[in-house]
Symmetry: C2
Subunit: 342 residues, 2 copies
DNA sequence: ACTGCCAATGTAAACGTTTCAAATGTTCAT
DNA sequence: ATGAACATTTGAAACGTTTACATTGGCAGT
């Protein structure tokens, strides 16, 4: 009774054919109760467990979806995966998880593995959604997929995201409204994240609309939490800023920490805003001011959307969800500029 | 060229038999270079993609592992999954991800699904590792598995964890060393997490060893971040504590937030310590003092361990990794007890 | 020229399902 | 009795692999 018994054995035990056993499994209503019971009893007795791989080989669908995220180490993605997993569970779908570590090279490999697994569809967060061999591959193979967090310019792919430029724009404007005129953005590398670039664009637009000159940028590697050195020239000296707009909440939290290490208070000396809306942002002090996106719901929606695509009931389409500026404590009035730090 | 071409078509195109194609895929060295090239060319031409399900049906192994965690929303688990995924990727293994939401009911269902998928092995974080039908099932089916974070009393299962009681003990002792005599533990529900219980035991032991009376407990639901009300009676009034030992870092961060909302400073009025060592703890202010476990590495090790079990090269065994008390700022000297709060 | 060997390849039988078409009853009106 | 209509059930052929075993042909040794 260790494990593997087959439909054939169950059929033998129950005195029916494997076709009947199959029907008991897949459409018990078409089989007389008495037979169903007999077969079920045999299954229990033999400890039968259907071999999904047998079924998958035979059927067109595998009832599995592939998920690719940059990393689980960032709560944004972890939370979205939580949403995906939850929705998948409710649908009886199996989730195959991969991560790219923000490396476009690995994206292609990971997706290829997923395709070999014959997943019914994919949910992806890519480094760059507009010019990406992964998308070409998926298009060519004609397999349903939904981009999550990516906000592609092309309109022939499904995506669920917030308006990245706009969320950065709003956050920047909130700072400007507090009197900040000397701002910089802290952002992840553009080649690793198109969101990063889009958010920087929004930042620049807000500055330009307010007549505030060129956008300054502090670009850092992903996964980086040590921002003391990268931010040094932005926080000290004659060009010191009074506000930092960060392209992600993780960066914002790291930036606040770096400010502290430079002996600056937030928001007293420097205001810091993030984008993403990770849960921990609401618990720390100062409470992080962020452009919040409904991360977990986005994951759930992505799966629902994907299901539609798989069933052929939906067309690729971009869903831009509203973001919401949180009332955080990490942003305050600009420190008067006549008392520069050194 | 949409997608699905089979080995048979490749064989036809290359003018060989499917056996040869299979050999080219699995052991190219046993096939003359010239033939390998011809077959590979046919594969490229036909856009061939091996159907893993065909292979899985035939072979004993599926080269996939199942992962079950309580939730992705807690960075501890997300980070461990990151470690697992990374190691799995290096091994060419596919990861099937499920989460239980801390619900023992769902644990069984999730594992059952994983088993239907014929995973080669499992990595699990269970609510309760000592008396759990999931473990009985896995034992009965004789399928390799490694518990992660769980620290079972039984010695016949493989596990990777820290010494939970000890880490709570050490944290508590660190507070006592700072003069704290009135402490309470904030912990997740024991029925949802045996770690929680073990850590509470360590907490109690430390108090008892220091002759400090009964252990007080504030038990909260998992995922809970609103601790203002639950902690009210611990933070105010005649029985107010000067220190909170929290069973997880997430709880500790939430507890610090709750203290703030009660108008108490950390560590000025109340010291707060956590257990887990999530990354964000090191970035917040005050820097969270925690009993740190190498979360991501534990995930990687769990996979390496599991691989050994699958190959039959290793025996189930408990790995207790050392934890490390971080030098956090969230713990300070006890506020003098002659000025009680109300 | 025969034998024996070896390298290269092919044949065919699984693996555990699903599902179509066909077979076997059963019931009932004629 | 006969056969139509129907409810149950079955046989058998896939699905795309892997692999034990058989076949082929070339070549060296005698």
């Amino acid at each position: 009774m260790t494990s593997k018994s087959t439909m054939r054995e169950v059929a033998g035990k129950a005195g029916v054919s494997i076709a009947t056993v199959s029907r008991v499994i897949n459409s018990p209503d078409e089989v007389p109760t008495e037979t169903v019971e007999r077969v079920r009893a045999a299954m229990r007795y033999l400890n039968y467990r259907p071999n999904i791989n047998g079924r998958r080989l035979k059927m067109a669908q595998t009832r599995s979806v592939g998920v690719l995220v940059p990393t689980m180490a960032n709560p944004v993605f972890a939370t979205s995966v939580q949403g995906i997993e939850q929705a998948a569970h409710e649908d009886g779908l199996t989730v195959l998880l991969t991560s790219s570590n923000y490396d476009p090279q690995r994206e292609l490999g990971a997706v290829s593995t997923l395709l070999n697994n014959r997943v019914d569809g994919l949910i992806l967060t890519l480094a760059n959604a507009d010019d990406n061999p992964v998308i070409d591959l998926l298009k060519a193979e004609n397999i349903p997929f939904v981009l999550l967090f990516n906000q592609p310019a092309r309109t022939d792919v499904a995506s669920i995201s917030v308006d990245n430029a706009r969320s950065a724009y709003d956050m920047t404007q909130a700072m400007i409204a507090q009197g900040h005129t000397s701002l910089a953005m802290v952002a992840g590398r553009f080649e690793s994240s198109d969101r990063s670039k889009q958010r920087f664009d929004g930042f620049g637009q807000a500055l330009s609309d307010a007549g505030l000159g060129a956008a300054r940028l502090c670009q850092v590697g992903f996964g980086e939490t040590e921002l003391f050195t990268p931010l040094k020239s932005f926080l000290t000296g004659p060009d010191a800023v009074t506000g930092l707009v960060c392209s992600t909440d993780m960066l914002a939290i790291a930036a606040i920490s770096a400010c502290r290490d430079h002996g600056l208070s937030v928001p007293g000396d420097v205001s810091v805003g993030g984008i993403d809306g990770i849960a921990v942002g609401g618990l720390i002090s100062p409470k992080l001011c962020s452009a919040i996106q409904p991360t977990q719901e986005m994951g759930q929606q992505a799966l629902a959307f994907l299901r539609g695509l798989i069933r052929g009931q939906a067309n690729p389409q971009s869903l831009i969800l509203p973001h919401q500026l949180s009332t955080g404590e990490s942003i305050g009035p600009a420190r008067h500029s006549s008392s520069p730090r050194l």
